[in-house]
Amino acid sequence: MTLARRIVTLLGLPVVLVATWWFLSAGSTDFYRPSLQRIVTAFQQTWFSERLVVDVLPSVARLAVGYLIALVIGIALGMMIGANRWLRALCEPVLEFLRAIPPPVLVPIIMLVAGIGNTTKVIVIVSGCVWPVLLNTVEGVRGVDEVLADTCRSYRITGLNRWRHLVLRSASPQIVTGARQGLSVGIILMVISELFAASSGLGFTIVQFQRGFQIPEMWSGVLVLGLIGVVLAQLFTIAERRILAWYHGIRSSQREW
């Protein structure tokens, strides 16, 4: 494919969609559906300001902290539970139940226990992200290849080496799947944790705009959230390509045969 064609397939549809929105909404008099031009103007005024530091960065920082904690807890517990048959049997129904609780309904409970500070918001994010990571890790650890496990035993690869080189790596495709699901849950909870009794943050700001009927500003906030989601998904994909290079390599080499 030539470069020009590649650019057209990559950007063609997005450009058409944005242009359509721009022209259809131009001169809109509907109070709730302002023109794209006004939204873009509001976007610049609203977000290229100290708001970026005061509202956006703290939100993203809380997400990062909560997400990382969830990864560590989820992978550590998941490896323990997955490697131990009776522990797995013991925990499975409880985990299934806990996972099935929609994370946002835990927000009122966590607020009750931990107040309304940063801690609560981070705990909310952890409480939602941890389940997909944990359960996928358990599945991944369960699927360790027997021959590979035998190889480790016969070559005396034990203890920490075994966890690092056999269990963690075997489970990594599934862990990555869980981590990806966890990330999208995390973004959702980042916003939701700021909708309850907060005084700053991205979610809080957007709801303030909504309540104050600052409609173009609110729309621009929705765009910011969308952009954060897209950027984080891209970062995740880059990380995944590095971590799972071997896995994608196997899959594509199998396809060739």
């Binding site: 129904p93 099935a100 916003v191």
Partner: protein
């Protein structure tokens, strides 16, 4: 058998902790009432019509949203996936729209539609639609190139190709997509009710929180967990039933 016993033991330990920790004062009973109190309150709840109205509202929103998302996801997925040009042209747009968190729409829909079921429905459809679409697209892409060449060599028309080539290959993926969508849809239904205030269990939890009725809040949270659990089990059973004939029950695509 022993596996099930272990599982029951696990649940028993979990329940015992839920009872003992508040009673022993390790967790303040103000924050976490003992399980027996929560359960007895739950017993009262289920005798009230209000509880059942809320449950039915939640289930309705969930089922309707899921249905719309599945139909749209499957139809668009097969249509886009079967036409290479469409597929290439939409790839970047899908990659861009998919990660947009559904809650970003909450302020928008509550402005546009107020505290109604429609608001929540938009969230539910938006969030679960992508799950189905992406799995179906992966499924269609998984069509065996040899089978594809065979179909072309025998000059199967576009419809016949969709019917006999794309659809059977994509079905296992689609079913997986539906299973994932089912749990996402339930989460979004209850979240929408909690945050937007449309009728359902989520709103009841919000009300319980506002009036400081802690045990009731816990009781409702447990109910949402049980519904989620039932939905997961049902979806997995259905998945196994639908795919029982399939030569290789495929795993989830790590997307």
């Amino acid at each position: 058998m022993s596996r099930a016993l272990w599982g029951l033991a696990g649940l028993a330990i979990f329940a015992a902790l839920g009872e003992a920790l508040p009673r022993l004062g390790l967790i303040s009973p103000l924050y976490a009432p003992p399980l027996s109190r929560i359960l007895s309150l739950l017993g009262d709840q289920v005798q009230q019509p209000r509880f059942w109205t809320a449950t039915v509202d939640t289930l309705k929103t969930w089922a309707l949203g899921l249905l719309i998302a599945v139909v749209a996801g499957v139809v668009l997925g097969v249509a886009i996936g079967a036409v290479p040009v469409l597929r290439a042209a939409t790839a970047s747009t899908i990659e861009f729209l998919r990660p947009i968190p559904s809650v970003a729409l909450i302020p928008l829909v509550s402005l546009l539609y107020g505290a109604t079921i429609t608001s929540t429905l938009v969230l539910v459809v938006y969030a679960s639609f992508w799950q189905v679409l992406v799995q179906v697209l992966h499924g269609v892409a998984d069509v065996d190139p040899v089978a594809h060449d065979t179909a072309r060599a025998y000059r199967l028309g576009r419809w016949a190709r969709v019917r006999y080539l794309f659809w059977p290959t994509a079905l296992p993926y689609a079913v997986t997509g539906v299973r994932l969508a089912a749990s996402v849809a339930l989460i979004l239904a209850i979240t929408g009710e909690l945050l937007i205030g449309s009728p359902g269990l989520g709103r009841e939890i919000g009300n319980a929180q506002d009036s400081g009725a802690v045990p009731q809040m816990y009781a409702l949270v447990i109910v949402t967990g049980l519904i989620g659990l039932a939905a997961n089990l049902f979806a997995r059973m259905a998945e196994r039933r639908v795919l029982a004939w399939h030569p290789a029950i495929r795993g989830e695509v790590p997307v």
